[in-house]
């Protein structure tokens, strides 16, 4: 126990990075996934094909492979994202390692976000879109004003699952230069071989708290967006 509570700031810093990775990649995945889903259901065949290809590629690739590609293969051909380190948030410089982890997580997660959104769009009866077209709305307006607001409701539960998976997937960054919660756990167990079980449980508890927070917000959102149909 005292391995963790004696270094509680380290424990919190680790989970801080975990949350940071999850939030930044989550927001970016949401944006990219939304664009991909729009492209996939949209009227432009080239875009639909390209988005389909993207989903096939990244949904079928293990996240570890994506990470290895971004963090080990790309630097070999000179793509290190290091130019980004000049950006500073307060007096804290953005690190290229963080950026690489975010890129890997976003590329991977956005494929799942795209499919979750597409399932929501498909849940909206096609007559809704047809009626919207009939009154002269263009594709963007149909999506923005008619389809997506209805799809959003259906999307909440699968999207929560995607973000929960993303939160746990951030632990892969532990092996790619990020001292997040899983890396912190390994640091603790290495220094305190006699307290392994407690350390594992306390780190698991941290993840459970984060995941439960996501789950509860999704329930709350579901209740709030519920309408009588």
């Amino acid at each position: 126990m005292e391995a963790v509570f004696g270094n509680f700031d380290v424990y919190l810093a680790g989970f801080g990075l975990t949350i940071g990775l999850a939030v930044v990649s989550g927001v970016l995945s949401l944006l990219l996934g939304l664009l991909l889903a729009a492209a996939r259901v949209g009227p432009v065949p080239v875009l639909a094909r390209a988005a389909g290809l993207y989903v096939t590629l990244f949904r079928n690739t293990p996240l570890l492979v994506v990470f290895i590609f971004i963090a080990i293969a790309l630097p070999r051909i000179g793509i290190t994202f290091q130019s980004i380190e000049v950006i500073a948030v307060g007096d804290y410089n953005v690190s290229a390692f963080f950026v690489r982890a975010v890129v890997a997580l976003t590329l991977y997660t956005s494929a799942f976000v795209c499919e979750a959104i597409r399932s929501g769009i498909n849940a909206v009866p096609v007559g809704q879109a047809e009626a919207a077209r009939a009154i002269g709305l263009d594709f963007g307006q149909v999506m923005r004003l008619v389809v997506l607001p209805q799809a959003a409701r259906a999307v909440v539960p699968p999207m929560a699952s995607v973000f929960i998976a993303l939160t746990k997937n951030t632990s892969i960054a532990a092996a790619f230069g990020i001292a997040e919660a899983a890396a912190t756990m390994r640091r603790f167990t290495n220094d305190n071989a006699d307290q392994r079980v407690e350390i594992f449980l306390l780190v698991a508890l941290g993840y459970i708290v984060i995941v439960e927070a996501i789950a509860f917000s999704s329930y709350a959102l579901e209740r709030r967006w519920k309408v009588a149909r």
Binding site: P75, R76, G177, D191
Partner: protein, 293 residues
């Protein structure tokens, strides 16, 4: 017909390329010592030594990813390095031939659990002796003392540990080396294996990597024109031999065996053909810790 032939040719070329790529993975420095089992090994009835001697085989956990210390390339039959050589010396004194040693890969995280669950009989895996570890497993030795240094690109300005303050330094996630680098003011970057860290150094995404000097020398020796080891050691790591606390009698046996290998020169010979490859002379054998009675 023609397209099929072209496809076949392309596939064959692909396979040839793959095969060529794999060729590098095997290690070419497979030098090992021939060790003969002691024939008339005698042990007191009921001790672990007697059991192992009776069984005629032993399971030893070593590292597979540390050139010079414990390394097994793809396609190699047995791991090579200083740790496996020490393992062979211990086994020989139990009356066990090297071919009857079952080598198991242990990584930093699973060394204590493997010993506690008796999945391995001994751990000889660059296993630094610490008080916390001695709470849960036995550690005899040390059989080697090393210290943490820095591996940097040949053209790097970093000359000593004082220069890494504020720089990004790579080592294995969760390792003591990474903690020490953090204590020196460096920004720690953890990866899964040492070889991945070497890649990061070569690609310039980190300024340096750090771990025990012995391991770094092994990597520097592989690419002497691209990498160099710098700085005075800034920590002391005492490599011990791990055994299960169920068999405390192993400690005295291991210490006696190590003492004997220090005296008859087999320890020095083992060093020369492994860690000594990078040009270092064998150091003075370290003083062994007393076994708890």
């Amino acid at each position: 017909m023609r397209t099929t032939r072209i496809k076949v040719a392309a596939a064959a070329a692909g396979i040839a390329l793959l095969a060529a790529g794999c060729g590098n993975a095997g290690s070419d420095e497979g030098e090992t010592r021939d060790v003969e089992a002691v024939e008339d090994a005698q042990f007191d009835e009921g001790t672990r030594m007697a059991e192992l001697n009776e069984a005629g085989e032993i399971t030893i956990g070593v590292k597979y990813d540390q050139p010079g210390i414990g390394f097994k390339g793809a396609g190699d039959e047995d791991p090579v390095g200083f740790d496996p050589e020490i393992g062979k010396i211990i086994a020989a004194n139990l009356g066990i031939d090297p071919e009857n040693i079952n080598w198991v890969e242990t990584i930093s995280d699973n060394r204590e659990p493997f010993l506690q669950e008796n999945e391995v009989d001994l751990v000889i895996a660059s296993y630094s002796i610490t008080d916390e570890r001695r709470e849960v497993v036995g550690q005899a030795g040390p059989y080697y003392v090393t210290g943490q240094q820095l591996l940097v690109p040949s053209d790097s300005d970093i000359a000593d540990v004082a220069d890494v303050e504020g720089e990004e330094v790579c080592s294995v996630t969760g390792s003591t080396s990474l903690d020490n680098a953090r204590a020196e003011g460096a920004e720690p970057r953890g990866f899964d294996t040492y070889s991945e860290c070497v890649d990061q150094v070569l690609d310039g995404t980190v300024a340096a990597m750090t771990t025990d000097g012995a391991i770094l020398l092994g990597y520097a020796a592989e690419q002497p024109e691209a990498l160099k080891v710098v700085g005075e050691p800034f920590s002391e790591e005492r490599y011990g031999i791990g055994y299960s606390q169920d068999y405390p009698e192993l400690c005295q046996f291991i210490n006696d065996t190590l003492e004997q290998s220090f005296e008859d020169g087999s320890w020095e010979e083992a060093f020369d053909i492994t860690l000594g490859e990078s040009g270092d002379d064998a150091p003075e054998p370290p003083a062994l810790d007393e076994c708890a009675a």
